[in-house]
Amino acid sequence: MTDQPSVSDNRAGVITRVEELGYELKIGQVMTTKVVTFSPGTTILEALDVIKQHRISGAPVTVDGELVGIISTEDLIRALRDGRIDRSVSTYMTKDLITVKAIDKVVEALKVFQKTKVGRLPVVNENNKLVGLITKGDITNGLLTALQRDYQAEEIIRYRASHLFEDIESDRTSLILRYRIIKDDFVNGGAASNNIKRALLRLGANRQIARKCGIAVYEAEMNLIIHTNNGGFLRVEIEPHKITIEAYDDGPGIDDIEKALTPGYSTATEEIRDKGFGAGMGLVNIRSCVDEMTMKSSKESGTNLYMTMYLDKTES
């Protein structure tokens, strides 16, 4: 169920996915191409028979594929009222035509429907040759099909990813994700962690595992952004039963690892704290999220943080 925002006046400016599709889909993609047509010389009587047989309410009139008119139920009623069923459709057809082009977007047809109240529109190509008919029903079908396609595309990504490990045979299969983390890049801070979390969900990990792994990687990522000389790298190796995460940098190293692991201990500057970091909880958070954590640090070679999560027992 969709909740209607009760406290917002921004509703008018909102474009839904369906409206967006109206600007993406072309009329040619949703129109009906199998169209019953008449030639101008067809009699009203013949036209009535065909219309009854095909259960339609009108049809375009063409000469060599070129659109010259459209005959509707109303036109036929006029002919019947006049008692002229022997006359040709060209006498009664509507010649003043509104057409749309196959290459135009669906929204153009919608605008015409809204303005004119006609039930169907002939669709022509650039040479005014009839290529199809479009109704509101065609548009509804087209939009629903497109929405379904959107949905299936995500489902397929999910399916493919979640069967990756089953589909590939080897003695040891693993997927390695690497991310370069830039020093002081607060704008993109957390992007890598969210990508890793999404990858895990697509691979079929349960939400709790993905969340814990996301938190651990996020803290490691922010540490690389805040505390390093030149940023660093994240490397996540995903195996069917285990996730191994490494975060490494080239300095400046941690003076006292024991202290760094104390909740609330932080070396962050006032500026960093203003940004909402430096609570002194980073490594503490990581340790509570992963099964194993080891850290090596020296002034010479920087800091290497290893984290391991086992999936066996909690994997659903």
Binding site: M1, T2, D3, P5, S6, V7, S8, N10, R11, G13, V14, I15, T16, F186, V187, G189, G190, A191, S193, N194, K197, R207, R211, K212, G214, I215, Y218, E219, M222, P263, R273, K275, G276, F277, G278, A279, G280, M281, G282, V284, N285, S288, C289, D291, Y310, D312, K313, T314
Partner: protein
Amino acid sequence: MKFLDVIALCEGTLLTPDVDHVPEIKGGFAGDLMSDVLASIQAEAVIITGLCNPQVVRTALIADARLIIFARGKNPGDEILDLAKEENLPVASSRLGLYEIAGRLAQAGLPSCEMEMNLFPKV
């Protein structure tokens, strides 16, 4: 609690009106330090914060939060809102402060989503 009810209780304005299918909010969590949030927030919560940068959204996503309320009239920029919209995460702004918002939500029966430290089950 419905996310719109949460926003109404704190007299907030929804800044991402095109989000849909937002699930029920299970509880609340207030804080300005994102590591504190990550340390002890339970899933499906509303985050109430005075911090206003993209990390709040990233933190919310990592922590499976369902709504962000920026307190004391903080107005997030497009960068923050675009990121939230992309992820269908509702974001609201309230002129009230953290304490007032938390108090109102708690009084209305929304429980705390704060857990004691280190409660992630070890496997």
